[in-house]
């Protein structure tokens, strides 16, 4: 009697199911192709995944707050572009890093302000900024060749070595840990959950909904900026379409990790695990000679799978509680999405 309850509780803890699934997938791939877990291969594919993992975390935080950010991919691309541009113009590494992160910050602020001040749908605003950032990168690459940089220390951001582990890993790990701490252990993080669960109720309870929402978009912008810097450092050259479609992978990763699109549920570790799952699938497909274009289909399916799984878990958790439910049809609890967005935030006149 006690076991299913405990199991359902564990499974409904965000991040646990995806971690189990990740281990399973790794084991399966290792059995299929034994080269899967060689240190070099693991390092490479994780290294490649880090920028998108950063985007995944940013998007996850926005989603936990009940929003969505479609612009992260192209903003990361543009940030990589502005970083390179700064370097090409002769700036030292730290200035270039600042330029890249600032680019992300500007877009995050713009998104957040449009959404909170004017009350426009987040996915439309970020769809527009997706295009604007993508367009700006095209223009930038036409103006300046974004490659051939030899500024000392820049490629060490990713390829450097500290205690036998690439510096990119360290940077990412520190950011993830900070974000997890921020989301789970701080006052602001608690408010993010509150507005994601019920913005109207959070507002009545004295949470400044607009300020918290703005904060999540700024954070997501900053993380996109950081991802751009790491992208530039790893690639050494920036193409016009860098970052296109990354938002898709980031959202899929977050959803797969159990970050609920309805808002209010998820964690940074869960999002990272979801992102790693996608990266692992991609690597597994590659090692087994599958055409990389299948990955876009896999990503689409992963979003659907993530959402469906999330709902199952919810029902499971509810079901184990509802001890006295008798037979007969029980409709699934209606999952409220988006609709409560503008409720009671005081911005309608």
């Amino acid at each position: 009697m006690n076991f299913p309850r405990a199991a359902s509780r564990a499974l409904s803890t965000s991040g646990v199911p995806i971690a189990i699934a990740l281990v399973l997938v790794v084991v399966i791939f290792q059995i299929i192709s034994p080269v899967f877990l060689t240190p070099g291969s693991v390092r490479d594919y994780i290294n490649n995944a880090i920028p998108i993992l950063l985007l995944t975390v940013g998007v996850a935080i926005v989603i936990v707050a009940g929003g969505i950010d479609l612009s992260v991919g192209t903003v990361a691309g543009l940030s990589a572009g502005t970083t390179m541009w700064a370097l090409v113009s002769g700036a030292p590494t730290w200035t270039a890093v600042l330029v890249g992160v600032a680019t992300g910050l500007v877009f995050g602020l713009f998104n957040g302000l449009m959404i909170t001040v004017f009350g426009i749908n987040d996915f439309i605003v970020t769809l527009a900024t997706l295009n604007i950032a993508g367009g700006l990168l095209i223009v930038l690459t036409e103006q300046v060749p974004l490659q051939g940089v030899t500024t000392p220390g820049f490629s060490d951001l990713v390829y450097g070595n500290f205690l036998g582990v690439p510096t990119g890993f360290w940077i990412a790990a520190v950011i993830f840990a900070l974000m997890q701490f921020f989301l789970i252990r701080t006052v602001f993080g608690r408010r993010i959950f509150a507005i994601g669960i019920a913005p109207g109720a959070a507002n009545v309870a004295g949470v400044n909904v607009n300020r918290v929402r703005l904060g999540t978009f700024v954070l997501s912008g900053l993380l996109a900026g950081a991802a751009g810097v790491l992208l530039a450092s790893r690639l050494g050259a920036v193409q016009a379409f860098l970052g296109n479609g990354y938002e898709f992978i980031a959202i899929a990763g977050a959803v797969l990790g159990g970050v609920s699109l309805a808002g209010g549920r998820g964690s940074v570790w869960a999002a990272v695990a979801g992102g790693l799952m996608l990266a692992t699938l991609q690597q597994g497909l590659r090692l087994n000679g599958v055409d990389p274009v299948y990955f876009s289909i896999v990503t689409g399916l992963c979003i659907v799978a993530g959402v469906v799984f999330d709902r199952r878990i919810q029902q499971l958790a509810l079901g184990s509680f509802r001890k006295r439910a008798k037979g007969g049809p029980t409709p699934p609890a209606p999952v409220k999405l988006q609709e409560t967005h503008l409720l009671g935030t005081g911005k309608q006149d």
Partner: protein, 529 residues
């Protein structure tokens, strides 16, 4: 309808038997029944949270019951969606308007039951002319002109919307008409008009299920009444054999005479509030279209009750005070200083707090634990440097409230959605108290919670003001307001239309009914304002 409805062997039109419904661990309906005879007006009564709305939703196909049977004229029904109920001739006027703002009145009336004409050999084109012809006379009876039929419903005010809703329900052949508080917000004339229609429908052989809170309305109109309390059926009576007090007794589970005397009114009467410090003063506060020239004061140690019908602007006033909705003109003085709250967070910082009316939507944060729900408004009390949360403090804080307020939960780390309504409400009260407020606004503090929890919440409010706080209580149940408040002000159509001072004193001298009736009269606007 040409033929008389066939009836079941039991001679009933509708027989509801053994219906139960549970929501996330909360029991909304527990094995209830309802028997409606043909051609009768059957009143369905009960306090808030008694389960009337759930039953109505089940009968109109919007909610699936967990178990039980519904039999109409001897045929068992399987109502899976609204169109099933409508198809069986069960029409419902919902309390929450089921109108679509973007569509015209005419399209709204015929929504889901459109009349088509032939066009290009296909029967696809809407025949708006025929539709209009069919309802014109009925619409005119309720004061809807031909132009009104062509206007989008979104352009109407609440009152006119309700009229459209009534026309929509009356426009079609019906065997069973369900009316969920159809008269709320209606003027006397429309009210009488509607009653006349209800009588005529009964003469035509239609049965009506009628939910109302205005018990006086029942007499001379309703045939029988079924009373619900806390999701159970208390009983069914002939209306002509009962008095309002009998029905009240059934609804609230106390003998009629006890109503006024259960309160601790004498204790309140001792308080002399005139000399106390003024906490809040509103002067000519307006909010476009919602609030009009509101002036009032609240003093330390005082409970100010706000009475009024639904839609009178009580919740809107509370929201405006809290800075959730903007005030368009007028001044607010807080502890003697003029203030302007930019939002609820500013109000909380100054020492206001609010317990909202709609607990499910605006009160609890269902996915958070009880302890997290308690601390959300005062996170600085459980954090280091105002930033890093101390979860151990958070839990022990919640634990102390659990013992003090008697919140029934095995663990304060349990998600709040798994608690019963009354315990959720106590947790929200704890949340408000934890901000250590000078003024606490309770909007319908006892809605949908059981009687014992009600009494406990009342005691919490009294204790709060006894310790020097000030409170505003908004409640629809006037008896509750009279028991609790030192002073009651009455709202109607966004204005303050009257006040009753020194309520405890009146109670001591046994004038409970008189005070209640005075408030009732002023809310309904039957006397000059």
């Amino acid at each position: 309808m040409t033929e008389r409805p066939a009836l079941g062997a039991d001679g009933l039109l509708l027989n509801v038997d053994g219906i139960s419904k549970h929501y996330e661990g909360v029991t909304a309906l527990d094995d209830v029944g309802l028997q409606v005879r043909p051609a009768e007006i059957h009143a369905l009564l009960g306090g808030n949270g008694a389960g009337k709305s759930t039953l109505i939703n089940i009968l109109s196909g919007l909610t699936l019951p967990d178990g039980g049977t519904i039999t109409l004229s001897g045929h068992q029904l399987d109502l899976r969606r609204a169109s099933d109920a409508l198809g069986h001739g069960i029409n419902t006027i919902h309390q929450e308007l089921s109108l679509v703002p973007a569509l015209t009145t005419l399209d709204n009336i015929f929504l889901g039951r459109e009349v088509n004409a032939r066009f290009l050999g296909m029967n696809v084109k809407l025949d708006r002319r025929r539709m209009e012809e069919r309802v014109r006379a009925l619409a005119a009876e309720f004061g809807l002109s031909q132009e009104d039929l062509k206007l989008p419903v979104g352009e109407f005010g609440a009152l006119k919307k309700r009229v459209v809703e009534i026309v929509k329900a009356l426009a079609f052949d019906t065997r069973l008409l369900i009316l969920d508080e159809p008269t709320s917000g209606l003027e006397e004339e429309e009210r009488l008009n509607l009653f006349e229609h209800m009588r005529r429908l009964r003469e035509k052989g239609v049965s009506l299920i009628w939910v109302t809170h205005h018990l006086e309305e029942l007499y001379g109109l309703a045939d029988s009444a079924t009373v619900f309390r806390d999701g159970r059926r208390v009983g069914t009576v002939n209306v002509s054999d009962t008095t309002v007090d009998d029905l009240l007794g059934m609804m609230f589970g106390i003998a009629a005479g006890e109503f006024g005397s259960t309160s601790s009114a004498p204790a309140l009467a001792e308080v002399e509030v005139e000399s106390r410090e003024e906490v809040l003063r509103l002067t000519d506060v307006n909010r476009s279209y919602v609030l009009r020239d509101i002036s009032l004061t609240v003093r330390q140690g005082e409970i100010l009750g706000i009475a009024g019908l639904a839609g009178a602007g009580r919740t809107e006033l509370a929201r405006a005070i809290m800075g959730i909705d903007k005030i368009s003109s007028g001044t607010v003085h807080w502890n003697g200083n003029p203030v302007k709250f930019s939002g609820s967070s500013a109000a909380y910082r100054k020492g206001l707090a609010m317990l909202p009316e709609d607990r499910k939507q605006l009160g609890i944060l269902p996915e958070l634990s009880v302890s997290e729900n308690i601390s959300i408004s005062s996170l600085d009390r459980v954090s280091r440097l105002g930033f890093v949360l101390k979860s151990r403090d958070e839990v022990s804080q919640a634990e102390s409230y659990r013992q003090r307020l008697g919140i029934k939960t095995a663990d304060v780390r349990e998600k709040i959605r798994n608690l019963s309504g009354g315990n959720q409400q106590k947790a929200i009260v704890a949340r408000c108290l934890n901000t250590n407020p000078d003024l606490l606004i309770f909007d319908e503090p006892t809605q949908g919670i059981d009687v014992s929890a009600k009494v406990e919440v009342h005691n919490l409010i009294r204790e709060f003001v006894a310790n020097g706080g000030a409170a505003i209580v908004i409640a629809s149940e006037i008896g509750e307001l009279v028991e609790l408040s030192h002073r009651v002000v009455i709202m109607k159509k966004g204005r303050l239309v009257g006040s009753v001072d020194n309520v405890p004193h009146a109670l001591v001298s046994g004038q409970f009914e008189a005070v209640k009736n005075r408030i009732l009269a002023m809310s309904a606007g039957r006397t000059e304002s």
